[in-house]
């Protein structure tokens, strides 16, 4: 019974797929995805492979050679404590990539769980979504600052704070997408045929939501890198002596006249990383089904996540 009913739904999806080229070939024909993925891979390679190979130590202090320009020993020069700037920037890249990736991953998982639960349980839906609204109404950096201040300065606490900030956006996205999928004819058929909610979630909702989660998580990654740098710059993020782009920029600010390389090179790699993540996210979004696209909220830094919800709620009220 159950198999008979769910068979047509999957065959429809397959027919659609046969008309279009495979996902992989569509991806490699989207310039943004190719450029973004290769660029980020190179940055990750630089960050994780070069320091051990070139014996770069981001913590080796040399007070005799503070704030030097570029030389054979220090390709990008040295910082305020005489530490090698290249080693600091690459170590900062590790911090940024790990923080950004973990925040994107954890908020993706929590957001998916909360969103699916909200879509399938109307009582929890009210409670969870009101709480998400409260979190989303507070501008992202402000909420991150307050949370980081309350939890105390450490990299783990920063990741927790950023996860709390970005999970509601994912939860809202997954919820609205899950409700849309739930009302599709093939899912209603499956449900009326006696399929359990678990079956529907695993078989229909998650596969049809995965694409928007990936896109949204890419943007979360980009924003986490920005907010991590901003918070570390303000002294509310990654604590010294751990290297972070925000810390290096903070140290570089006071010596910007004598050692501009600290600000210039760090800004450069920070901007390139965010640019690559944005380009990758835009490319991935272009591949996503148009109907699903409207749920994606980019630039929650600007509070944009709220806009669509207000419009939608207004329309339904």
């Amino acid at each position: 019974m159950l198999d008979q009913l769910s068979t047509p739904s999957t065959s429809i999806v397959q027919v659609q797929n046969e008309k279009r080229p495979s996902l992989f070939s569509r991806m490699i024909r989207t310039p943004g995805i190719v450029v973004g993925a290769i660029g980020l891979f190179l940055i990750a390679l630089l960050a994780f492979a070069v320091p051990p190979l070139a014996h770069l130590d981001p913590y080796a202090v040399d007070p005799m050679s503070r704030l030097q320009g570029s030389s054979a020993g220090h390709i990008l020069g040295t910082d305020t404590f005489g530490r090698d700037l290249l080693a600091r920037i690459l170590s900062g890249a590790q911090t940024s990539l790990v923080v950004g990736f973990l925040v994107a991953l954890v908020s993706g998982v929590f957001g998916t769980v909360i969103g699916v639960v909200a879509a399938f349980n109307s009582v929890l839906d009210q409670i969870l979504m009101r709480f998400c609204d409260g979190l989303m109404a507070i501008p992202a950096i402000l909420l991150a600052v307050a949370l980081a201040a309350a939890l105390g300065p450490s990299t783990t606490n920063l990741i927790i704070a950023l996860t709390v900030v970005y999970t509601p956006y994912l939860a809202r996205l997954v919820r609205s997408r899950a409700i849309a999928v739930k009302s599709e004819a093939f899912v209603e058929a499956s449900l009326s045929g006696g399929a359990r909610p678990w079956h529907v979630i695993l078989r229909h909702v998650l596969p049809n939501t995965m694409s928007v989660i990936v896109v949204q998580s890419t943007f979360t990654f980009a924003e986490s890198v920005i907010v991590e740098a901003a918070l570390s710059f303000l002294g509310a993020g990654v604590p010294a002596p751990t290297a972070s782009w925000g810390n290096i920029l903070y140290d570089g600010k006071s010596v910007v006249a004598s050692a501009p390389q600290m600000v210039v090179f760090t800004s450069l790699i920070l901007v390139i990383t965010i640019l690559l993540l944005n380009v990758l996210g835009d490319g991935l979004r272009d591949l996503v089904d148009r109907r699903a696209q409207r749920h994606i909220a980019h630039f929650s830094i600007f509070g944009i996540g709220r806009k669509r919800r207000t419009a939608k709620k207004g329309g339904a009220a």
């Binding site: 609204d133 409260g134 109404a137 507070i138 980081a148 201040a149 570089g252 910007v256 600007f302």
Partner: protein, 319 residues
Amino acid sequence: MLMYVAKRLLALIPLLFAVSVVIFSILHLTPGDPARAMLGAKASAAQVDALRERLGLNEPLIIQYFQWVADALRGDLGDSIFLRKSVVAAISDNVQPTMQLALLAIIFALVISIPFGTLAARYRGGVLDQTVNGFTLIGLAVPSFVLGLLLILLFGVWLRVLPVSGYTNPFEDFGRGMDSLLLPALALGATISAYITRTTRAAVLDVLNAEYIDAARSRGVGERRLLFSHTLKNAGLPILTVVGLTFGALVTGAAVIETIFNIPGLGSLLIQAIPRRDYAVIQGVVLLVTVVFLLVNLLVDILYGFIDPRVRLAKSGGK
């Protein structure tokens, strides 16, 4: 129209309730005793007890929450034990530079983004459009504090034409005041202008494809008038919405920018409160900015309904 405004106001109440719960919870998330965290390890047990008593931390959580909300509704956000004044006084002492900075930044952003966004849409696919798109792509990847540092390097260190630090109130000394606000406002406005340019371009493109534009053109309306009068007026609504939404980014961006340029605003107040664990100030600033942010967006929503009757009909009488 009144019904519409009332409905929007009523919808704000559950949201404010959720916001207040979140902000209240933040303080109580602190691992360990907040009073101990504020006073540091050297404080005696008696001092910690006295502060706990003063902050009302010995009451049950639910009582503490309602006490805090009741005080906030009366306009009392508590006292900062470090600044030795009330949080409301601290905020009102620091709010002026932030508002000036935010206002100047949004003016910069609009002056850059409205013409470029409109022209990019008009000459879609052309050189100008591609240049504008390239700049917005980069603009969205440059955080305002990074741009601020680079501007300091360029204008303050290399060209030596503008001050890189400090603040003068433009109402007291207009020239010096504007000099002190120019770089921070530019840093803040540029990032936001990238976003508004994109919205403007998309909104103008939408309108340019509308049939009433074809109709106006066939009536003999000139191209320039068509673009800046007919099109831009109708594209104004989405642009207005985005301007309202960027308010949150403006104020939080200002918080970071202020610390770079040593401007004594709300951001500096907030950032100085973090290492001191001055929770009353942190809660107060976050609450105030969020409430103002929500009110600004409510105002935009109401303006939206005021300008475009379709919006208010769809939202209040549609069903």
